[in-house]
């Protein structure tokens, strides 16, 4: 419950550490594969293998099943881990692992260093529902053209692919501009792609609707200062219990920003209503 963190920016530091190590992993793995013939760990966040433990990104797997109309055991088993993570913890992949998140965080920190402002304005505000339409539109498009679209145009996957292309073939694929576009959008309006357009984020959000880990507000301690709303990268308002909605990705920015320590991670053992 709130009031336990000794340092001011507690979760942010752990999260940056997690994002950095996740990024270093996909940076180092192609290099090790190519030059040291070390193939114990392989791949990036579309499909990652650690020894015989395989993970497959849920949206990529779902699209592959939908467009090919075929089930394949190892693919389904590979999706179990990420799906369980999403069911229990919500969109934590987005905020704690995703390489796009890492790059955006680094940009945020640079901007903070340059401008001295602690929080950026959210910029363009669009209806949050757009996230669901992005997922539906993307799956429909994949079904229509008969190929999983997200898999070769997904920004998190592209970061991994470009690193691999650079390491193995000393070249880059053109579609890497999508990563640059997403980062430019972020410069323009905070986490615009993650907030409104990422189909993978939307799928994880759907799975995490009844997640166990949520950020809850202590009604007595909250003084309605609005700091949490300004801190939230998705421009949610935890003071209005929006952190309980499907959109929240449990990054903990608001927990760290909260001066009266009214916000905190809570684990609900029974499935909450709604």
């Amino acid at each position: 419950m709130p009031g336990k963190q000794p340092k001011k920016t507690f979760y942010n530091r752990i999260r940056l550490l997690s994002l950095t190590s996740a990024f270093i992993l996909i940076l180092a793995v192609p290099f090790l594969n190519r030059y040291c013939h070390f193939s114990f760990i392989q791949g990036w966040y579309q499909s990652l293998s650690i020894g015989h433990l395989w993970f497959v990104s849920p949206l990529e797997g779902l699209e592959s099943i939908l467009t090919s109309r075929k089930l394949y055991g190892p693919l389904l088993v590979g999706m179990i881990g990420p799906v369980l993570l999403a069911l229990l913890l919500g969109r934590v992949f987005c905020s704690w692992i995703c390489p796009i998140s890492f790059l955006s965080e680094i940009m945020d920190r640079l901007i903070r260093l340059l401008t001295g402002k602690k929080f950026r304005k959210p910029g363009i505000a669009m209806p949050r529902r757009m996230l669901w339409f992005a997922l539906m539109g993307e799956v429909m498009l994949a079904m229509v053209i008969g190929a999983p679209v997200f898999v070769f145009l997904s920004p998190p996957g592209l970061v991994g692919r470009e690193i691999m292309m650079a390491t193995l073939f000393h070249t880059l694929a053109i579609e890497g501009v999508i990563v640059i576009i997403v980062l430019l959008l972020h410069l323009f309006s905070r986490r615009l792609f993650c907030r409104h357009l990422c189909p993978l984020g939307a799928l994880i959000a759907v799975l995490g609707m009844a997640r166990r880990l949520k950020i809850r507000k202590d009604k007595e301690a909250c003084i309605d200062c609005g700091l949490c709303k300004r801190a939230c990268p998705l421009s949610l308002d935890p003071a209005k219990d929006e952190s309980l909605s499907a959109y929240c990705w449990n990054c903990g920015e608001c927990v760290d920003a909260c001066k009266p320590k009214a916000l905190g991670y809570t684990w609900s053992s029974s499935r909450p209503k709604g």
Binding site: Q46, V151, A173
Partner: protein, 190 residues
């Protein structure tokens, strides 16, 4: 005049659009071992690049977005680097796009000898037997018929070692022995 230009433009555009959804697999440009038919390949493959990463010879190369919906799928250009049939890629595919098969079962394509270009078939005294020598299934997939190479369809895996080794360079860029991906376009069994 303007209408003609516009029509030509539309034709060009539709050609470009068709190129984005037509398979890049052709003579000497093949899929890795165990690949499902081309009809279903772009749907099944999630472009995770693990076959590319695991290939120790860098035979497998993923094309970029200029190949349209086939962007990121694994391709082997056997003229550049052939497949040495180490079978590592089929073991790492998480989607079953590369099915788990053995070396002997591999059918990436079929080697076809162009008897008009092959020096051994053309000249009486030429004794080039490169394709025969490099074939991993020597005496099974390629045999010598009166010192001239002959491909046995039943055993050819289509690995492309013969194409890679062939010293003849035809004007169209191909060799005197080429791999035709005849198995890639068979219909899918549901």
């Amino acid at each position: 005049m303007a209408a003609g230009t516009a029509a030509a433009g539309v034709c060009l555009l539709s050609d470009k659009a068709a190129a984005l959804v037509s398979s890049p697999v052709k003579t000497n440009i093949l899929r890795p071992p165990g690949a499902v038919p081309e009809e279903i390949f772009p749907a099944k493959c999630i472009r995770c690049g693990r076959c590319v990463e695991v290939c120790p010879y860098e035979s497998i190369v993923p094309p970029d977005i200029r190949k349209g919906i086939y962007a990121g799928t694994p391709l082997i250009d056997v003229k550049k680097i052939p497949c040495y049939l180490c079978m590592k890629c089929v073991q790492v595919c998480p989607t079953g796009t590369l099915t788990r098969i053995s070396q002997q079962e591999t059918r990436m394509g079929l080697a076809v000898i162009d008897k008009h270009s092959c020096v051994t078939w053309n000249e009486e005294l030429a004794l080039c037997r490169t394709c025969y020598n490099v074939c991993p299934f020597k005496e099974k997939a390629i045999k010598l018929d009166q010192l001239r190479p002959v491909v046995i369809e039943e055993f050819c895996t289509g690995c492309g070692l013969c194409t890679h080794g062939c010293p003849v360079n035809r004007k169209d860029g191909n060799k005197a022995i080429n791999i035709e991906p005849i198995y890639a376009f068979k219909p899918v069994r549901w």
